[in-house]
């Protein structure tokens, strides 16, 4: 029978792509392995191969079509002897990226390349409105919509233009344009002296970057993910974080370690860990984890100028999210300042990075239930802006923390301790932590969904602390 060729996903987090070009035309005979078409996203390009033999009966999505949702049928292949003009087979599952992609279509690899069954429901353009509390953005500032990915790249490019001692080093940052395309175009603008591809050698290039920083340069070290930075942990902690103190203030290490942190989707235990709590344990390190594109840009620029080692935790799923970014020359967001993302009276929800997605959605649901939640985006994990949290809790008397990392000794645990110390008399209910479940990240879609926090848990926790 006829089979649909579906728009494949290049990565577990891809939702849309462009159908660049058909290499076969209607009526052509195709066999398994033939390249049917080329597709691309902002991250990469890929060829769509046929997995069935037959005739390309009908092309459903033309050359050059943009924003084609993953799993959309893009062509029909008629089996041998079938009528090449027959109607397509049963329609594909909803192309919202939430269901498993069919492997019967043109998915280039049927193993791991299914669409994300992420519970995070990444939204391509969440377009969060201007922020209630962001003193760094003056009123009436012109805004432009851009993705977190673009904001990060612009931050690096601006700082590299400003200071010749800033350079980027890491795996695939130059010729490949970044494994997640964060360094796109930097090699072309700044050349190979300042955009340096490394061998796969995290311990080595982290140490080399730290040495270069001690020698007076300002390296931006990209880890393909922070999961790989565990190989470099000794250099980050023992060499970068402690040397200023051990040298009685002589040395210093102006360096940024950046890259995606935490769970993406369907990459299982060794590629899904959230390191916010780990790094935030270390005196001598600053730890930043932005949610919006504006914060990503302003904080990365501040991190690059900071004279201390800064751990800059990004999130793969957020890379494609769009936000309003102020069009200000040299837009800086100070490290160490949290932001009130939503004002409210009844309960304080504190989160950071992708956790903000749950927090804001929960706040919207709580509003329906008559609970007015205040949502704080920490932005910086260390030094933590306790003052803003305490101030908020003095108003609401209740607090829920949200993070994807594990609960024990986590960021939420730290916030609980600080509230005990600094706001005990203001609390009307015990603080509840919503965190990743205390297990290694499972691969199976349903288990992964269970392991991560979700909006319902946040809503339930907020209701619980409000005794509702």
């Amino acid at each position: 029978m006829a089979t649909n060729v579906l728009m494949p996903a290049l990565s577990p987090t891809m939702e849309h792509g462009k159908l660049t070009k058909w290499l076969k035309k209607e009526g052509d005979k195709v066999k398994s392995g033939d390249i049917l078409a080329e597709i691309e996203t902002d991250k990469a390009t890929m060829e769509v191969e046929a997995v069935d033999e037959g005739t390309l009966a009908k092309i459903l999505v033309p050359d050059g079509a943009d924003n084609v949702a993953v799993n959309t049928p893009i062509a029909v292949i008629a089996g041998t002897g079938e009528d090449a003009t027959m109607e397509p087979g049963p329609s594909a599952p909803p192309a919202d990226g939430r269901k498993n992609a069919s492997t019967e279509g043109g998915s280039p690899q049927s193993d791991a390349k299914t669409a994300a069954d992420s519970p995070l429901a990444p939204e391509a353009a969440s377009g969060e409105p201007a922020q209630p509390s962001a003193p760094e953005i003056p009123a009436k500032t012109a805004m432009a919509t851009m993705t977190v990915r673009e904001a990060l790249r612009d931050a690096m490019a601006e700082e590299m233009r400003r200071d010749d001692s800033v350079f980027v080093i890491g795996e695939e940052v130059a010729e490949y344009q970044g494994a997640y395309k964060i360094t796109q175009g930097l090699l072309q603008e700044f050349g190979e002296r300042r955009v340096v591809d490394t061998p796969i050698t995290e311990h080595g290039f982290a140490g080399l970057g730290i040495g270069a920083a001690m020698g007076g340069l300002r390296p931006i070290v990209e880890f393909m993910t922070f999961n790989f930075a565990m190989q470099a942990m000794d250099q980050i902690v023992n060499s970068a974080a402690k040397t200023l103190y051990m040298s009685g203030g002589q040395m210093g290490c102006p360096i940024v370690f950046r890259g995606p942190n935490g769970a993406a989707a369907r990459v299982a235990a060794q590629h899904s860990q959230d390191y916010a709590a780990w790094y935030s344990h270390i005196p001598g390190l600053k730890v930043v984890a932005p949610y919006t594109a504006a914060d990503a840009k302003g904080l990365l620029k501040s991190a690059i100028r900071d004279p201390n080692p800064v751990i800059f935790l990004e999130n793969e799923i957020l890379y494609g999210h769009s936000f309003e970014v102020p069009q200000i020359d040299d837009f800086l967001v100070p490290i160490g300042k949290a932001r009130i993302a939503r004002e409210g009276r009844d309960v304080t929800i504190v989160s950071f990075s992708i956790g903000m997605v749950y927090a804001l959605k929960a706040a919207a649901e709580l509003e329906q239930a008559g609970i007015d939640a205040e949502v704080i985006d920490l932005r910086t994990i260390r030094p933590m802006d306790s003052a803003l949290i305490v101030e908020s809790v003095k108003k609401t008397g209740r607090c829920v923390t949200v993070e994807e990392g594990w609960p024990q000794s986590g960021v939420g645990a730290e916030i609980c301790a600080r509230l005990m110390e600094q706001a005990f008399d203001y609390l009307d209910a015990p603080v509840i932590r919503i965190a990743g479940k205390d297990v290694p990240m499972p691969y199976a879609a349903n288990l992964e969904k269970l392991a991560l926090p979700n909006v319902e848990e946040v809503v339930a926790a907020a209701k619980a602390v409000c005794y509702r």
Binding site: E192, G207, M246, G248, Q250
Partner: protein
């Protein structure tokens, strides 16, 4: 930088640095006396540190450089202003050879406010940006990527400087050393890797810890040339150092110098040294002592008299006594120092 170095290398055979120097540099009287004075300062300083450790004035770990003096003194004779030095935890000698104040070094050992790190680093963690001395690192082998990074900065700025990166035969088995070798050769970084082979990684002899005990060959997989040097002869060290520095400054990339040396004392002050015989140590001291070699040459060549050398000895003893006195009487750090220097 990365793209340019992606060209395929054809050479397979171990590379030899070209224009290998005379194995032993001939020293002028001035050079012999300078080397004698420097090595003696390190020897007497370390003996004093050992004494003070025994008296409880120095705490924690204390790794003495006695026996290895010719390595750092010879190397430093080839360094020029701007070149960087970085090493592991056996670092007192490197700082003295770099010209850092013995008072500051000793006061750091005693944990006083006049110490080079204001008393916050201790024996293993001392630095001097002014002297281009980048530590003093307590994690075995960690200084190797760091020293490679210093060379990266030199190359980035094209300033003609060289990073002298020291580590021991024990550190030579750490993985990050080879990660560094690979990048250094790939990007032709100006770094001289000085492997101070004192034959024992703590208590484990090289034959018990290393599948290949010729450390000069440790760069072969990366096409980095290496040489074995008599690290007890300061003239041989200097000759090799000069050649290596020149090799790096000419843009040839890294080079390895294996310094065959010996430490007379234990790994640290708490080491009873049961893993080797007293005779082995005695034989090395009698036949190969780096300071005695210079002394004998000076006397035999009538370049100095017994009286001349005695005068130097007295001068050195005075410097060390002053350092010890300062380090014993200087105040401990102000308690407020606990909270400073965590962030800039």
């Amino acid at each position: 930088m990365a793209a340019a170095s992606s060209s395929v290398r054809a050479e397979a055979a171990p590379r030899k640095a070209q224009n290998a120097p005379e194995a032993i540099a001939s020293f002028t009287t001035e050079e012999e006396l300078a080397a004698y004075r420097q090595m003696l300062l390190i020897r007497r300083f370390e003996e004093k540190a050992g004494q003070m450790y025994g008296m409880g004035l120095i705490g924690g770990f204390c790794h003495l450089y006695i026996g290895q003096e010719a390595v750092v003194v010879g190397m430093m004779m080839a360094a020029r202003e701007g070149d960087q030095t970085i090493t592991g935890y056996r670092d007192h000698g490197h700082m003295l050879a770099r010209g850092m104040d013995p008072k500051g070094v000793m006061a750091e050992l005693t944990g006083r406010r006049g110490g080079l790190s204001k008393g916050k680093g201790g024996s293993m963690h001392m630095f001097s940006k002014a002297s281009q001395f980048y530590g003093g690192h307590g994690i075995v082998g960690a200084q190797v990527p760091l020293g490679t990074g210093l060379a990266f900065a030199d190359r980035y700025r094209n300033n003609g400087n060289v990073s002298f990166t020291y580590f021991g035969d024990g550190a030579a088995n750490q993985g990050q050393v080879y990660e560094s070798f690979n990048m250094a050769e790939l990007w032709k970084l100006p770094v001289v890797y000085v492997i101070e082979n004192n034959r024992y990684a703590m208590g484990t002899s090289v034959t018990r810890s290393s599948a290949l005990t010729d450390f000069s060959k440790r760069g072969q997989s990366f096409n980095i040339p290496g040489e074995q040097i008599d690290g007890m002869d300061v003239r041989a060290v200097k000759a090799a150092a000069l050649h290596a520095a020149e090799w790096c400054r000419a843009g040839n990339g890294p080079i390895i110098l294996e310094m065959q040396t010996y430490r007379y004392r234990g790994h640290s002050m708490s080491d009873p040294a049961k893993y080797r015989s007293k005779e082995e140590v005695q034989k090395m001291r009698e036949e190969h002592d780096p300071i005695e070699q210079v002394r004998a040459r000076l006397l035999a060549g009538k370049q100095a008299s017994e009286e001349d050398l005695k005068a130097i000895d007295a001068e050195i003893r005075a410097i060390v006594a002053q350092a010890a006195d300062f380090a014993s009487h200087d105040l401990e750090p102000d308690p407020a120092e606990l909270w400073t220097d965590v962030y800039k």
